[in-house]
């Protein structure tokens, strides 16, 4: 039933858009929803538009690609912390959401997040959100409830960490009682991260890394993204549980944007509308594992024991999550220098 319904919905989108068959190019993280083969196939079958994917490994790489290849992409996934920067650099265009039938069902605070909708225009359609927190091997240790687990002497050499300067600094800020968006005491952060270094066994950089390292017993506890943790559990059958630590967690919101110079705006809008469709989301979350949807109807359509209702649906958990704001280039470079210096000192 879901397949035919999906096709019917996508078909309606195509008719509404009155679009001709086009090839749309999507720029995203690999394995992050838009490139699910069944979703692409359903979309292609319904609309006649073909979908080609290109991937990036970091947000900066995504921006670099948009800067150096104007007109090469039609849909791009941009984290809300970068949407303003992309718009200010003229890399993306505002989206006229009229005619996108699922936009009305988006959670107002996410769709209207000032980092996605500003200057009276929509620059990114809220797609999914989630948190970066702690994920651990349930067979190897007890449930941690605090970020202090990463500094626990018993976990020395058992910690996995993402080799990302900003995220490292933000976690250290949380554990020292600071806001991730307003880090005042960088010395405390440096001190914390210096003590973290000997605890780290390995740096992970992708979901694939993370799953392999956990399965091979390289680490027992690691920083991780909530949606990916759900995927590790449901899709790969790994003994993983996700925790939102009591100090707080780094929240993020991903939006789908249309790059400036896209020649297939209507087709791109149809694709984005399909991406926020409950039909797509329920299948993505139940069969593959996904972050939390920004679409309220989609979240409500999940089974009751679903991770995205159980963990991310708990109001006490959500209250501790702080959504990340944009970070200036100067701060980024400062954090990277700090992080590199600590890594160099730990050699």
């Amino acid at each position: 039933m879901t397949r035919t319904a999906a096709i019917a919905i996508a078909g309606a989108i195509a008719l509404a858009a009155g679009a001709q068959a086009a090839e749309i190019r999507v720029l995203n993280w690999k394995g992050y929803g838009t490139d699910e083969p069944w979703a692409v196939a359903a979309f292609e079958k319904a609309t006649g538009h073909t979908v080609v994917h290109d991937y990036f490994n970091s947000e900066q790489e995504m921006l670099t690609r948009l800067r150096t290849n104007p007109g090469a992409y039609d849909v791009v996934l941009i984290n809300s912390a970068f949407t303003r920067q992309a718009a200010a650099e003229g890399l993306i265009q505002p989206i006229d959401t009229a005619g996108m039938k699922n936009v009305a069902d988006l959670a107002p605070n996410l769709a209207g997040n000032p980092e996605l909708a500003f200057d009276g225009k929509v620059w990114g359609v809220a797609w999914v959100w989630g948190v970066t927190g702690i994920a651990y091997n349930t067979e190897a240790m007890d449930r941690p409830d605090s970020l202090e687990v990463f500094w626990d002497p018993a976990m020395k050499g058992r910690v996995g960490w993402r080799d990302d300067a900003l995220e490292s600094v933000q976690f250290a800020a949380l554990v020292t009682g600071q806001s991730i968006n307003d880090i005042r005491d960088l010395d405390a952060v440096r001190d914390r991260l210096a003590r973290l270094m000997p605890q780290i066994r390995v740096f992970w950089s992708s979901e694939n890394d993370w799953n392999q390292f956990l399965a091979a017993g390289e680490f027992d506890v690691a920083t991780y993204w909530s949606g990916s943790a759900a995927r590790s559990k449901t899709h790969f059958g790994l003994p993983v549980e996700f925790v939102i630590p009591r100090e707080g967690a780094i929240g993020w919101l991903d939006g789908l944007s249309i790059p400036a110079g896209s020649a297939n705006v209507e087709a791109a809008k149809a694709f984005i509308d399909w991406m926020i469709d409950p039909e797509f989301y329920v299948k993505w979350d139940t069969e593959v594992g996904a972050p939390a949807s920004a679409n309220l109807k989609a979240a409500a359509a999940l089974p009751e024991d679903a991770f995205n209702r159980r963990v991310l649906g708990d109001p006490a958990n959500i209250a501790r999550v702080e959504i990340m704001k944009p970070v200036s280039d100067a701060d980024r470079e400062r954090f990277l220098a700090l992080w590199q210096e600590l890594k160099a000192a730990a050699q």
Partner: protein
């Protein structure tokens, strides 16, 4: 036009396109305050080079990369020279062809694939761990993954063929009669090795060493994948500037410092290289 100019033109054109232009673009980037795209304001500055001096960890990592380059080059020579000798002098006919293909085979596969296959071999519970435990009666844990040695192993494997191939060419050209003459005059095997074989194969081995040393000092992929926490080198720091913070000017300046240091190392080694001509 007369003389050698028209004949040399294609070579110079190629050098201009492939070497001079990209290098001068990077040279330009290393001298600006911000990358001139998207209407960003920029000025000419030396700050990027000053940054290297202001933060001692850059120099520390550069030294670490040079050390890595020296160790990997040394190991490649230690393993590669005997291999080249066996290939050039001992084995003949079809076997030589077969071994030759085995030496070149790694070149046919993507570098990333080779590194990932090492990751599978080196990690705990991996192929190496399994094999060692299958042979030895007592329980040993072999987990070399995410260590300095994992990086060295991956790099030696990647660059060893350069030394074998250049060494092979030089050793094959050694006149057999020289060795026979030395032997008939009563030279020991060691003396033949030190006085005839090594000096005559030095040009090839030196060329191989340069081919290994230069890319290893700037390597970033192998350290990142195999090194884990121990995988921070000068090359990975440069890569971070380009991919993680879009700070091309600093990345370009660090690259040029690396280039200068590598050229200085090669200049210091020049007497050895020249003597071997």
């Amino acid at each position: 036009m007369r003389g050698p100019v028209p004949l040399l033109a294609p070579a110079y054109l190629w050098l201009t396109l492939a070497v001079f232009l990209p290098l001068s673009a990077m040279g330009f980037f290393s001298l600006v305050s911000d990358i001139p795209v998207g209407g960003r304001a920029w000025t000419l500055t030396l700050d990027n080079y000053a940054e290297f001096l202001a933060r001692p960890f850059y120099a520390q990592l550069l030294w670490r990369s040079l050390e890595l380059g020296a160790v990997v080059t040394g190991l490649c020579l230690l393993i590669g020279a005997p291999c080249a000798w066996v290939l050039a002098r001992t084995i003949r006919g079809r076997w030589r062809e077969a071994l030759f293909i085995l030496v070149i085979l790694p070149f046919w596969s993507n570098g990333l694939v080779r590194v990932f296959s090492w990751a599978i071999a080196l990690r705990g519970g991996g192929v190496l761990d399994w094999a060692v435990n299958a042979i030895l009666p007592w329980d040993v844990r072999v987990n070399l993954m995410f260590s300095w040695w994992a990086v060295v192993i991956g790099l030696v494997h990647s660059y060893l063929p350069y030394v074998i191939l250049t060494g092979y060419v030089a050793m094959q050209a050694i006149d057999q009669r020289l060795i026979e003459a030395a032997r008939s005059l009563g030279a020991s095997r060691r003396m033949i090795l030190w006085r005839i074989v090594l000096p005559l194969s030095l040009p090839g081995l030196a060329a191989g060493a340069v081919l290994v040393f230069v890319p290893v000092v700037g390597s970033f992929m192998e350290p990142r994948i195999l090194g884990g926490r121990a995988g921070t080198f000068f090359g990975t720091v440069i890569e971070d500037q380009f991919t993680a913070v879009f700070n091309w000017p600093l990345g370009a300046a660090l690259s040029f410092i690396l280039l200068a240091v590598v050229l200085a190392v090669l200049a210091a080694a020049a007497p050895i290289l020249r003597r071997s001509q």
